[in-house]
Amino acid sequence: MTIVLGVLEEGLIYAIMALGVYITYKILDFPDLSVDGTFPMGAAVTAMLILKGVDPVVTLVLAFLGGAAAGCVTGFIHVKMKVRDLLSGIIVMTALYSINLRIAGKSNVPIFSKETIFENEWLTNHVPEALDPYVVTIILLIIVVICKILLDLYMQTRSGYLLRAVGDNDTLVTSLAKDKGMVKIIGLAIANGFAALAGCVYCQQKGFFEISMGTGTMVIGLANVIIGTKLLKKFGAVKATTAVIVGSIVYKACVSLAIALGMGASDLKLITSVLFLGILVFSNMQDGRGKTHA
């Protein structure tokens, strides 16, 4: 049971970030590496704010905004300074390393003793003891579902339509008398907002910020998105956002399984890429054609 809860917790946290990667990778077709920097940025912002006594719930919003600002910078560098997409992300990711250190003040900031959204007086007083082991998972589930619903709703707005259009066919966006660059910047802002939000939740759940926690975020996000969308493709009715969340949990379950089977962490990345490749190839074989985004 512990392991199932553990997988759910990890999977749900990374699902928030994966929703962002879904926007950049699937919708905008933009391999955005800045999430490697915005994920820990969310955590750094959160750790600092919580130490300053800011309400943990408020940090969720502020972390999102911080990430969104960083996403705007990536977008600005790409759109206005005409730097290639991958490079823009790398530039911002690199800069964020230093910025995150500045925000947090040091490379490791524990907040064990503080109240978080997972551990606070209100929860202690209101949640029956029997539910205690499930509290974290339930809270995470609520956050993820809210994020998913908000994103789904956004995609149905005029602005959301434009975002979908820009990844599909940016000429059309120009034809609609809209600046496609602005639309990309908005998309990157939302995506990095989600990454930072995930970092914020991660920090609150684990009880500390650590500068190295962002390494490989983008790859995990991509794996989540691809696993989710490929696995659930057959079920046409399943929304892509739902698929991404399922993908995140499946991914973490696989990692957990690998660890439980006694595989060393040194082999984990290899296993991840083999799993990744396997799903891509398998899915292409099912399609009967070699066409894929990746």
Binding site: T2, S98, G207, S212, A258, L261, S266
Partner: protein, 369 residues
Amino acid sequence: MKKSVKVMMMAAAMMALAGCSSNKAPETTAAPAETTAAATTGETTAAQAEETTTMPEGVAEIVDGTFTVGIGQFAEHGSLDNCRTGFLQGLADEGIVEGKNLTVLYENAQADGGTASQIMDNFLAKKADVICAIATPIAQSAYSAAKKDGVPVIYTAVTDPVLAELAGADGTPVGEITGTSDKLPVEKQLEMIRKMLPDAKKIGIMYSTSEINSVSAIEEYKAAAGNYGFEIVESGISTTADIPLAADNLLGKVDCLNNLTDNTVVSSLPLILDKAAKKNIPVFGSEVEQVKIGCLAAVGLDYVKLGEQTGKMAAKVLKGEKKASEMNFEVIEEAAFYGNNKVAENLGVEIPAELADSAAGLFDEITVK
């Protein structure tokens, strides 16, 4: 549906395959884990024979009952490996012997925070009686994962448990968690450098900005340096790739280099030593392994001993003598001097007799890893 099931099965099959090829058996029972541990640290244990063989090995009576300990190590690293070896030795001294009444689950997070917390979940699922966490980040992961289940955590190689919020300001545990700190003996190190190099003024220290332990050690060095007439020149790096440039830059400005236990810097130590040797600049280390591979000298910790001390604390918890929450974290009592005669000869530096006589280890050659 059929398709997704197939994919899952395929994934599982792939993992199983990978599992077979890795040298660890799926169920990490005592015996194979011991072989792995011995294999990675074999060299170390042999080299330290003079110390370890004097230990009353296997004298302790085997304690009744069976125990499971999950050892989570943050990174693959000589000092941390030594901690683990020492930890198992410490347990054995107290009658808890791997393969007899102890099952060891060992995982290495390879410096990945996400993996660290999954390792902890895995230990909890396998009902570990005690979790041993080696190094700060994984100790924090262990604490946040284990506290809901109330499984005790014993950490080691955490430089500053107070700063990491694993202990209160007075050293009392914050929960079912305690252990040992590998705080560097800064004052003693500076004193030693002064004795070795009476004319030196500037000490260069390279550290990675991402490692909290290094950052706090730098602060301590800066505060204490004045007392010994030194000035600290620091150089922060963020990745291994920054090291060559930073080293060149630093070596031009200082009289000697001093090395912390910084994981990133230590892993590139041979490169730094090579550059320093060309300029005839001495490099001081912070623990015995660094002296073996070419640092001039160090007042440092013996991580095996640190591990042993930790193992004894874990044994108390396992035997039910004390709870983790009832023990304050401990620091290793004495720091020992280590010197390398070969390096001294190359540099034309004399190791003062006063230091040489009290040395816990003097090496006559440079071990190339």
